[in-house]
Point group: C2
Chain length 392, copies 2
């Protein structure tokens, strides 16, 4: 029986065209793009082609606004720390939200020990921040606003256009962590009005360990990796050219397919949400019904442990996650789920289900069936469930 | 006619076994190693196998001492900044040399603006630092000594064992930038007594954009990429698993072949150095005759521009470099060459020739022939050469 990956927030399979492009690049075996002889120039051309492909996906004005990184985490670190270091003379205050990815939260924590202050805003029960709160948090010392586009645990999408308008008005740099959005939802850096955008190749079915940071021309930012003059002097280090080739190819396909991809994923999610009440009750859906990723559902299953559901589904050949893969190993309840107001109990009973283009409607049906079996089994032995049932 | 790469300091071709391992990994298409279901565990096993292969190459006590990075530059940044940040309470003084890679120099420059002071030691005319100078530079505030193993422009190898002894005696953390050494010369972190060692996969014929940092157990260091709990909480971000698989395979082969590889490369270099005086005179060899990389020669060709030699050799189908690929784009003369006492003129006339395991004795012969033609042509039109010849 095929293993069904419903954990596309942790990992997406490579597109066949991406595999092909990377294998061809491995066979060709390019030289160092910084070298000035023919072999170097050939490699540089490949690098710049990928940069154009990626710029195209997010509608950047120029490929020069794309900095290749080792992934979403580096992009977030670069944006937050790089802007803070480069603009500290103007002020040391940063505005963010309580539900950011740890790459942003922990970068900010690092900056706090360097004298920066951070205002972290709360979100509503579907995980949205109020743009008015952002406006009110701004002080004369604010140099950066960092708000994620979509949350990797709830899928909820933030009102980034409104925040961008506020940032522009106050002349404050606006960074969007769009690691889980770019390539899944149409994303136009110019239409949104972003200054910095973090994104990752694997989100759009390219390889892991490679990503990008969009840096709008004119934004003052320091490198976080110092050294050589690569990436227009913004990010030192010999490039991961194989990964970049794969990312470029994935970006080109994501741009071409974005609307059909979105519709297909949303179809799977809609089917799941539509049919779920028929198989199980007492499940909270934490994902915003309207402003959310097309493929992600955060579901808190009452009276059970998410961990147990995950492991039993795994035995049934279905992969889901209980939280961001980056946070596994931590025993604490998710800061995101607590921020949207879940109890510790409900947070521990939460599954993140993320569909992918490799899933089918049949996968959703099989998942619903397995989920029913697993949850019913667990609830049958749950003292909490028995108590609640007795009360009902 | 085949293009001859004599610029292996900028890029090494992938080993056939590395290509094969990476292509197999692309076809297999692993999930996220941090995910806790079967697919994640399978990916984690692949990651840990590569960690063992890499630990084996440098004889680390435990694979846990290996942190995978995006390459030598990140490893250097991580070591220097990570130690500085984590140990600033003990002191803010760092000892280094004038000929380090820009990844170290510029990381230190960044720290200087944060209140750190740096003592940068000069080297002799073959690029070696005197360990006694290191000992004398140490103050009660010294928290880190960072000295490279081999220089990427001269190939000269430093007396790191003696420096390690001094560091250990004074209880100061010792970082070795061994990016151009590991996989080319036998390298044993325990025998040397290093606390931190930076290295890069491409040096030993693995992919670019992936490297490692050896962190001896017990060394206090902060991450520079904050976020998730990957890499034992030392380096956040979803791993570049394809690159890591390639690096692991390359490490295993490097360990197996290190002595034959060394001998083969040294054979090519010896042939070149032996036959060079027969084809051209007035060439300074900047590489240490004994303490140097087996494959690298820095040669200052009097009365000509290195850039012109490089471009004309390129037309002949031979790739050499005039300096570190990371520094191309900069117009300044190499800080390394000036540090070993070269005049600006001689520095500008310098070629870095780096042989690889894909080169043959015939390549060396063809290179010598082309070099003679190119240099003779250039000298014939050089006013400096005519003047010198007239004087002679």
């Amino acid at each position: 029986m095929k293993y069904i990956n419903l954990d596309h927030i942790s990992s997406n399979p490579l597109l066949p065209e991406v595999k092909q492009a990377m294998i061809a690049a491995i066979h060709h075996d390019y030289h160092n793009p910084s070298s000035q002889h023919q072999a170097g120039e050939e490699a540089a051309a490949v690098l710049e082609k990928a940069r154009e492909q990626v710029a195209g996906l997010i509608n950047a004005n120029s490929p020069k606004e794309i900095v290749f990184t080792s992934g979403g985490t580096e992009s977030d670190n670069h944006a937050v720390k790089g802007v803070a270091m480069a603009n500290a003379d103007k002020g040391k205050h940063i505005v963010t939200t309580n539900i950011e990815h740890n790459a942003v939260i922990r970068s900010l924590r690092r900056l706090k020990s360097d004298g920066f202050t951070v205002t972290s805003l709360s979100v509503d029960d579907k995980g949205r921040v109020n743009p008015q709160d952002v406006a009110e948090a701004i002080t004369k010392d604010t140099i950066l606003i960092s708000v994620m586009h979509s949350n990797n645990e709830t899928g909820t999408i933030q009102p980034v256009e409104e925040i961008a308008r506020i940032a522009r008005e106050k002349k404050i740099i606006f960074h969007i962590d769009a690691v889980d959005s770019v390539g899944i939802v149409p994303f136009d850096v110019k239409a949104i009005g972003a200054d910095l955008v973090s994104f990752a190749s694997n989100t759009f079915y390219g390889p892991t360990g490679v990503g990008g940071l969009y840096v709008r021309r004119g934004v003052k930012i320091f490198p976080i990796l110092d050294g050589g003059v690569q990436e227009n002097n913004k990010r030192a280090g010999t490039e991961n050219l194989l990964g970049i080739v794969g990312m470029g190819q994935a970006a080109e396909i994501a741009k071409r397919d974005i609307h059909t991809r979105y519709a297909y994923l949303k179809g799977l999610k809609d089917k799941f949400l539509r049919e779920l009440p028929d198989v199980l009750d007492e499940i909270l859906i934490n994902t915003h019904p309207e402003h959310s990723l097309p493929h992600l559902v955060s579901a808190s299953i009452k009276y059970v442990e998410g961990e147990s559901v995950m492991l039993m589904l795994d035995d049934e050949g279905i992969g889901v996650s209980t939280r961001s893969a980056c946070a596994t190993g931590s025993l604490r309840a998710s800061h995101v789920l607590l921020s949207i107001g879940l109890s510790h109990e409900d947070a521990q009973g939460t599954l993140v289900i993320a569909f992918g283009i490799d899933n089918t409607a049949e996968d959703v049906s099989r998942f619903l069936k397995s989920l029913k079996t697993v949850v019913t089994t667990l609830r049958d032995i749950s003292p909490l469930y028995k108590k609640a049932a007795g009360k009902g």
